[in-house]
Symmetry: C2
Subunit: 333 residues, 2 copies
Amino acid sequence: MAPEMDQFYRSTMAIYKSIMEQFNPALENLVYLGNNYLRAFQALSEAAEVYFNAIQKIGEQALQSSTSQILGEILVQMSDTQRHLNSDLEVVVQTFHGDLLQHMEKNTKLDMQFIKDSRQHYEMEYRHRAANLEKCMSELWRMERKRDKNVREMKESVNRLHAQMQAFVSESQRAAELEEKRRYRFLAEKHLLLSNTFLQFFGRARGVLQNRVLLWKEQSEASRSPSRAHSPGLLGPVLGPPYPSGRLTPTRLDMVRPWAPPPPFAPPPAHRTLPQRPGACAPPPGASPRLPVYAAPPGPPFRPGAAWAPPWWRGRRPENPYADVWDWGWGLG
Amino acid sequence: MAPEMDQFYRSTMAIYKSIMEQFNPALENLVYLGNNYLRAFQALSEAAEVYFNAIQKIGEQALQSSTSQILGEILVQMSDTQRHLNSDLEVVVQTFHGDLLQHMEKNTKLDMQFIKDSRQHYEMEYRHRAANLEKCMSELWRMERKRDKNVREMKESVNRLHAQMQAFVSESQRAAELEEKRRYRFLAEKHLLLSNTFLQFFGRARGVLQNRVLLWKEQSEASRSPSRAHSPGLLGPVLGPPYPSGRLTPTRLDMVRPWAPPPPFAPPPAHRTLPQRPGACAPPPGASPRLPVYAAPPGPPFRPGAAWAPPWWRGRRPENPYADVWDWGWGLG
């Protein structure tokens, strides 16, 4: 057999072998890994749901409080939003499962037999044609030696068989390459579908979050102004400079800007006048009345709710170097 | 004690109790659930990485094939993109762990003692003042009965003590409310940070995918044109109408449009002329030469790579009702 035909033959057989021994097993493995991937998504969904259910409960407690309803509302909305994202993610998971993994699994099962049979048929056809061609070529040489008068017709037959064989091997090669290509394309297109679904998910998730994050930020800032509810305070200053709104804090994901440090709170003053303990019912005659405990001492103005304690805790306050921890670690805007 | 002061007292104590017995335990629980959530993220990352590593290997095999390099390139790029997304997700996870969970855990531990002490101090201070006030009021009544000449001063003292007490209880209430509010705000702001980080992640992920998905779609469509490599086919038609490019298929996430059915492929013709088996080396004298097997039969033109088999498989082709499975299930555009 001509070496180039032999080369075609080997090349075509190699393709079938590759499909059978590499592609299909790889696809089977991919289905297995894909199911793991799927389960990981589901576990994430569940963990997220449980977490945000807990957030919601805390939010509902805050809604029942006297001064923290806005904050409670934020927490509840965060929980709702998470459910929204979760249900979108569920659609991605369904796509992955229904449109990818199930198809991949089905195809792999069906294909093993098909490719095996295709290869067998090709091999048989090739051998048959090759044998036939060899036989006719031998016959031709014999006729040429004997100067048979039908040599010319035989030669034409042989040429025709040869051309048919050439066409056969090249078309078979082409067909095998196409089978291979179709399989790779199947995989690419299926994952294009998955990528597109993810793309949609990210777009929707971003849309859902974008407005809400700004809203929550404003609400959170608004919560810093003192409540006008009962227990009116003696003073009503705003607790600190309001955060500029409208711009979201850069996150760790923003590589350009480093993490903005939180605005420092005023540290508690080093020492204070001791509160006047109202031990005696009546002031000693002639003594000037002491300042009431709650009056603002000379010095920095009393700011209710500031990190340092109101006056009557002074000198009595439990050691609390970490009173600030609830207020820092956050630089919004 | 005046009922309203008693009410203040109970309200303030209730707030401390709520912080100690509801908020802090809830926060502890949240840290626990948050760690589960975190682990789920990490498991997802790993599962995704393993899956797309497998995709990459298949892609690399395709790159070594003769006609599927474009498709191999797509698969490899998908794998790279996944890594990109994974590393962004890792940043979200770090934010969740470092900026939320760790702080929440630390605060909860520190706060238990602080709130307990604050409550104790308030209780003691309240009782002390209340007892003192009662004592002075009793003294005042006694002096009034005896028509003591210092009654007026005593009355002033009692009034002053009373006013101080009122200020004390209302400021304490306010302080307690503020402690509560600070804790809810801490939670809200921390989760605002998390939401913002997710928002950034979704934005970046969308950006990364958007261009690539379009590119991959074009490349995938381009792969449908027959290769010009070796084994030139007898015919070179395009396999079918090229998909319109530029518009991505709606996914399951697009609720408005239903899932687009795949374009149907032409079914194999019912029957064909049997291939001429080149059994005899020489055609019978006088017989008209039969058409070569590979020539296009009268009827639909032969399309290499179409779902139905090339001519020499006809009548011999293994039963393959599912030859189409590699090509359908995908409607791009």
